[in-house]
């Protein structure tokens, strides 16, 4: 029996699956999906064997460049991408934590200059599991459980 789709299929575009349910809106924000004109459907609190509750996003007519999609690895490390062309999956991709994180994580150090001046934050990834980010400016480490997306 065919599985019932909770979020309707798209003809062309990208499906981002296996997003932890609580991080759906972070993924949307990191990818800037609120600012693009494409048709977007998403479902959240769907049952998942891996994650318990997951979210899925389907973006019509959008194909992400390599590094662009890796940004979501911080909040959805197990995310899977399906590239859809004419209703068929033509490519599957996983995300990989990038070496440098620029512009979307807040430094945990309350005395870091980036929290006071209009400065783009920059981090070097020094640990992937659990995530550890070293601030390019104040040199302090922001851990996974302290991470705030800006």
């Amino acid at each position: 029996m065919e599985k019932e789709l909770k979020v309707s299929a798209i003809k062309n575009g990208t499906v981002i699956d296996h997003i932890p349910a609580e991080n759906l809106f972070k993924v949307i924000s990191i990818l800037g999906l609120q600012n693009i004109p494409n048709q977007i459907t998403f479902g959240t609190n769907l049952e998942s064997q891996k994650l318990g509750r997951k979210s899925i996003i389907k973006v019509s007519d959008k194909f992400f460049e390599g590094d662009e999609i890796n940004k979501i690895a911080l909040v959805a490390p197990q995310a899977k991408l399906n590239i859809i062309k004419d209703y068929e999956v033509v490519e599957k991709r996983v995300v990989d934590v990038p070496e440098d994180i620029v512009g979307y994580v807040k430094c945990v150090n309350p005395k870091c200059v980036t929290n006071f001046q209009p400065i783009t934050t920059r981090f070097r990834v020094i640990g992937k599991s659990p995530l550890q980010l070293r601030c390019h400016y104040c040199e302090k480490t922001t851990c996974e459980n302290q991470m705030v997306i800006i």
Binding site: N109, K111, C112, V113, T114, F116, Q117, P118, I119, C135, H136, Y137, C138, E139, K140, T141
Partner: protein, 303 residues
């Protein structure tokens, strides 16, 4: 070797570059008045007051013959009007050949170095880095011991928040040291630095009693145990006297032992130590001036 390089963090300089600065410092110590920077203008921007560091840097600049512009108190600058750090640095880097800056926010000097047309020397960015202090500590160690390699260095006091000990550990790690860390439980050396040493195979031992390390140390690096660091004031009262050095404690120490302290001290070295030939902290502060001459001259002239 370091011409036109910024010095923001001690890790910006390689082992060779550090040794080069120490060699330059030795030259300036043997002849402190060398006006080789006549015609140069250096900016001294102190976004928070620090009298000792500022006087040391500005004396170094003056002894090199450079002219100095700047401020010692941010209250008199446009920063109080809300000017961004970027704008202040962009403006000053149009005027001066080098900027020495101190700022209360961590990472400010790194950011400034990305905005400036001229090199930046970090004279302290909050609790983060103060690389000229590390270099003067190393100069003092090499001068008193005749070498940097294979020394036994005891660090006492606040090893958790003390930026000087953290930077010194990083810089000395190229010279096969053995470290003895002596601190109360609240102020122990953070794991990230112990991990750093583990990765490099550098020996360290942890103690809570200074007496255990005094007979074996070549360098005794004292730091201040600050009351405000303790969540439990009873605990502070209990430990505060444990980390005070008295002259009588130095009886069974090595002949080559020297006592260093980044200053200011507030009671952690008793004044009766000052006359002991092993006390080196005032000379260490003087060495700071020669070291800063070496940093500035090396960056501006490439010597």
């Amino acid at each position: 070797m370091i011409k036109n390089k910024s010095l923001v963090s001690i890790t910006d300089f390689s082992r060779e570059e550090i040794l080069h600065v120490l060699d330059l410092a030795a030259q300036f110590e043997s002849n402190p008045n060398q006006p080789i920077l006549q015609g140069h203008i250096i900016a001294s921007l102190f976004f928070e007051p620090s009298t000792r560091t500022r006087l040391s840097f500005e004396t170094a600049m003056n002894r090199l013959g450079a002219r100095v512009i700047g401020f010692s108190d941010p209250g008199v600058t446009s920063a109080t009007k809300g000017e961004t750090l970027k704008d202040t640095i962009k403006m000053v880097s149009n005027y001066a050949d080098l900027i020495v800056m101190r700022h209360p926010l961590e990472g400010a000097a790194r950011y400034a170095s990305e905005q400036s047309r001229v090199p930046i020397v970090n004279a302290g960015d909050g609790a983060n880095q103060h690389p000229s202090q590390t270099l003067l500590d190393m100069y003092s160690i090499r001068k008193t011991q005749g070498r940097l390699e294979d020394l036994k260095i005891a660090m006492v006091g606040d090893l958790k928040y003390g930026r000087t000990v953290h930077s010194l550990i990083q810089a000395m790690s190229d010279f096969n040291p053995t470290f003895y860390f002596v601190a109360p439980d609240e102020l122990k050396m953070p794991n990230e630095y112990k991990q750093f040493l583990d990765e490099r195979g550098i020996r360290y031992e942890e103690y809570t009693d200074m007496a255990d390390v005094l007979p074996k140390a070549d360098i005794l690096y004292m730091t201040r145990v600050q009351k405000e660091r303790f969540a439990d004031l009873m605990e502070y009262e209990r430990v505060k006297n444990t980390y005070v050095l008295h002259n009588a404690m130095l009886d069974d120490t090595k002949d080559n032992l020297k006592i260093l302290h980044p200053l200011p001290r507030v009671g952690e070295i008793s004044e009766d130590v000052d006359l002991n030939p092993k006390a080196y902290y005032f000379k260490q502060a003087e060495n700071g001036m020669y070291t800063r001459m070496g940093i500035i001259a090396g960056i501006l002239t490439g010597m």
